[in-house]
Every structure is written in structure tokens, then in C-alpha cells.
């Protein structure tokens, strides 16, 4: 799973979001390190949708524009949990090897 896909799934783990909502959430999750362009975002969304990891949730009108919300599927939750575990385990190894104390965070492994 790519870093971008991981962040998008993580953004959707907090609840359904529309396109720009995902961009903003990913920027916040990554502390500004990942700023998705719209072309990149929809490349990721299309791939995740084709893999059955996300699906459309609902559409809402906002300022005359139709926002489509996306949500995680059951498979998406499973894939994200698996990836998070892998990244957390890697982060634990890194922290141990660097002699750092305290719990590892998945976000640091993005």
C-alpha cells in the first residue's frame, strides 16, 4: 500500500469525507508533509474504489456544487488495520534501534 493510499484510508477511518475533506484531513494527519493534488487524490480514490476498499457514501449540495462523500468498506477497514499494524511494528523496531523511549505512532511511519 502506498503512503498516499494509507493516508486516504486513515482519513476515511474517522468517518465519510468528500474530496477536499480528504485532502485537508491528510494534510493534518501528515502534519503538512502530504499535500494531495486533486489529480493524485482521484487517482488514489479510483484505485481504492476498484479494489473495493472504499465506496461512495452520499452526495450533498454545497454552494451549488455536489459533494460526493466516501467511506471505508469492510475490506478497507481490514486492509487499513493490517497496514497500520505493519507500520507500527516497523516503527517499534526503528525506535528500539535508535534507542528512543515511548510508544510508536503509526502516523510517524507514513
Amino acid at each position: 500500500m502506498t503512503g498516499q493510499a494509507f493516508f486516504v484510508l486513515t482519513a476515511l477511518a474517522g468517518g465519510p469525507r468528500h474530496g477536499y475533506g480528504i485532502v485537508a484531513e491528510v494534510a493534518e494527519l501528515s502534519r503538512g508533509r502530504v499535500r494531495l493534488k486533486i489529480g493524485s487524490l482521484y487517482g488514489v480514490l479510483e484505485r481504492l474504489s476498484a479494489e473495493g476498499l472504499i465506496e461512495p457514501d452520499r452526495e450533498e449540495a454545497h454552494d451549488g456544487r455536489l459533494r460526493r462523500y466516501y467511506r471505508l468498506t469492510k475490506d478497507g477497514r481490514g486492509a487499513l488495520a493490517e497496514e497500520a499494524e505493519l507500520r507500527a511494528a516497523t516503527a517499534r523496531v526503528v525506535r528500539a534501534r535508535l534507542g528512543l523511549a515511548g510508544p510508536a505512532t503509526a502516523g510517524a511511519a507514513g
Binding site: T2, G19, G43, S49, D57, D63, R65, L66
Partner: protein, 349 residues
């Protein structure tokens, strides 16, 4: 309110295939505008007049377009066929470059008596690298780089293969520019430039077709193709060279035409049998290679303007290529027959 800004972004989105726009365009436009508009009418009026998609935004859409037009699994049949055909053509041209590289290394090793089990090399083999400002070591590295790039590509390390190939085409560019400036190479000088554009630069550029969605490669077959290609083409040519029987051999452009023509003829039975589902993609690959070889032949004819015999030979090679590709081209067209696009998202209430 969002008129001009929206129009500018929709113009960028025209880079994407129609089936994709039908499914995602509204959503992309909404997300893009959400990123710009503030909800304050005055500020938004100014933004819609002055702002537009950034270069990074355009690049992200262009990159998505490349991935969709040269599609992988999950894209409509036409785009998948184009993606596979371009990837196949890149493999083939990179293979040609790797065989040329291997040939240069063998000739160099032989001419320097490093292959002691071979008879003494003929005098014509002593200078195996082009002259000019670049030292021979650069040309040996270039030869190695094409071999490494080919193997790296086959092994699925696409970006590394592209970077190595991009470095490998630089010595040729330097030689061309040097020749242009110093008048070292004879006018009109079209053939060498055509080689650089069509066999150096084009495959490096086309390596963008190897993206994350590209299906895995038949590694063993392509890896075997390198020694096989050298044994079947490189070695016989070397044998002809050392025995002094090169007079009737075509130049490299002609050889490229002949090889693609032969590949088309070998492929025809697969097309006519109608049993092989992948035959159409190979037909498209061969058509692309024929276009590349034909363009190279046409441009390099300009260097023979003083010799009617060589012009006639070149035209004969072109004719052979045209006849051969005509046998597979209809199948290449059929391979692009449209299929219904993936279903759009279910209608939401």
C-alpha cells in the same frame, strides 16, 4: 460565482479519457473549487477571476491521464491494449539497445585481446567506440547502462530503469551536439538525430507506461530474449563483419525495418489462428514498432540524397515493412475495439 476558475480546471480535465471524466469529473471539480473558494463573495469573485490550476495540479492530472490512457488492469479494453502495446514496444527497443550494448562490449573485449580463446581480431575492430570529446570509458558505461536498464525494467524496477536509460542516452546527445557544432559528422545529419529521437529518447519517455497498475511482466521470456537476440542477430552480424561480408548488409535503419518485418511475419499465424486472445495486443505492439522503424527509415533516407542506389534500397525496405505491417494492422485495430466503461457509482439520493 466559480465560472472562470471552474472553466480553467475543466479545460485541464480534458486531458483525461471520456469514460473517466464521465465518472469522476464533477467530483474533481467540486474538490478543486472547495480548495480555492472561501465563502466570502468578494474574495471569491477575485479568486475566480485571478486564480487557476497550478502547474503541480496540472501535472497531477497529466500523470493520471498517462496512467489511464496507457492503462493497466481495470481500465477499458482499448486503453489496456494501448498500455500493453507501448510497454511491449519499450521492451523491444530497450532489448535492441541492450543487444547493441552487448555487441559493443564483446567487440571491445575481443579487440583488446581479452577473449584469448578467440583468433586475433581483424583490424577493423580496433576502434569500437565513436570518437569525439567523450573518452571510450563513457561509451563502455553507456553500453553497460542499456543492458542494466533492460534487466532492471524486466525485473519490475521501472523508475530505476528509466533513470539509467536516461543517463545512457546522454553520450549520444553529446556526440550529436558536438558533431553539429564542429561539423564532425557529414551533412545533412538527419539519420543520427532520428536514431536519438526514435530509439534513445522515445523509449525513455515511453517508460512512463510502466506504472503501478501495469500488469507483471513475463520476466523469464524477456530475460532470455537478451542472449537469444545476441545469438540470433548480434553474433551473425559480427561474424559477417569479421569475415568482410558486410557489403550486402542493410544499414542499421534498414536492419531495424527487416527485423520488425520478420517479427510481423512470424506473428501472422497467431493472428490468423484466432485462438490467442493476446495476439491483438502484440499486433498493436508490432504496429508501433513498425511506425518507429518506418519513421527512422524515412528520416535517414535524407542522408543518402547523393546516392540513388541507397535511396532505392531504403524504399524497398520501407515497402517490405509496409507489406508486413499491413498483415497485422487490422488485428491491431480490432484489439482497440471499445468495451463498455466500468459502471459509474450507484446513483445516490
Amino acid at each position: 460565482m466559480s465560472g472562470n476558475l471552474e472553466r480553467r480546471y475543466r479545460r485541464v480535465l480534458r486531458l483525461l479519457p471520456g469514460w473517466y471524466r464521465q465518472q469522476w469529473e464533477q467530483d474533481m471539480v467540486a474538490a478543486f473549487l472547495d480548495g480555492w473558494l472561501t465563502g466570502d463573495p468578494e474574495a471569491d469573485e477575485y479568486i475566480t477571476k485571478a486564480a487557476g490550476p497550478s502547474w503541480a495540479e496540472v501535472a497531477s492530472v497529466a500523470s493520471l491521464a498517462v496512467r489511464l490512457y496507457l492503462g493497466g488492469a481495470g481500465t477499458p479494453r482499448r486503453y489496456f491494449a494501448w498500455g500493453q502495446a507501448v510497454r511491449g514496444a519499450v521492451f523491444a527497443v530497450t532489448l535492441v539497445q541492450a543487444v547493441l550494448g552487448l555487441d559493443m562490449l564483446v567487440q571491445t573485449a575481443w579487440s583488446r585481446h581479452l577473449l584469448s580463446w578467440l583468433p586475433a581480431p581483424p583490424a577493423s575492430m580496433v576502434a569500437a567506440t565513436p570518437g569525439g570529446v567523450l573518452p571510450p570509458a563513457v561509451w563502455y558505461l553507456m553500453a553497460c547502462a542499456w543492458i542494466v536498464s533492460f534487466v532492471t525494467l524486466v525485473r519490475g524496477h521501472y523508475r530505476a530503469a528509466q533513470i539509467i536509460a536516461a543517463l545512457a542516452i546522454l553520450p549520444d546527445l553529446v556526440r550529436l551536439l558536438e558533431g553539429q557544432v564542429t561539423g564532425l559528422l557529414p551533412a545533412p545529419y538527419v539519420g543520427p538525430w532520428a536514431f536519438w529521437v526514435l530509439l534513445d529518447f522515445a523509449p525513455v519517455l515511453a517508460m512512463v507506461a510502466f506504472h503501478r497498475d501495469a500488469p507483471p511482466t513475463a520476466r523469464r521470456s524477456w530475460l532470455l530474449a537478451l542472449p537469444t537476440g545476441y545469438l540470433l542477430v548480434g553474433l551473425p552480424l559480427l561474424a559477417l563483419q569479421v569475415t568482410g561480408n558486410t557489403a550486402w548488409l542493410p544499414d542499421f535503419s534498414g536492419l531495424y525495418c527487416v527485423l520488425v518485418s520478420l517479427a510481423c511475419l512470424v506473428h501472422v499465424p497467431r493472428v490468423w489462428s484466432g485462438h490467442d486472445a493476446r495476439a491483438g495486443v502484440w499486433s498493436l505492439t508490432l504496429t508501433l514498432l513498425a511506425a518507429d522503424a518506418g519513421a527512422y527509415r524515412i528520416f535517414s533516407i535524407a542522408d543518402y540524397w547523393h546516392d540513388p542506389h541507397l535511396i532505392n534500397v531504403s524504399l524497398a525496405e520501407l515497402l517490405i515493412l509496409l507489406v508486413a505491417v499491413a498483415l497485422v494492422a487490422p488485428d491491431a485495430v480490432r484489439a482497440q475495439a471499445p468495451t463498455p466503461a466500468p459502471p459509474p457509482h450507484p446513483r445516490l439520493g
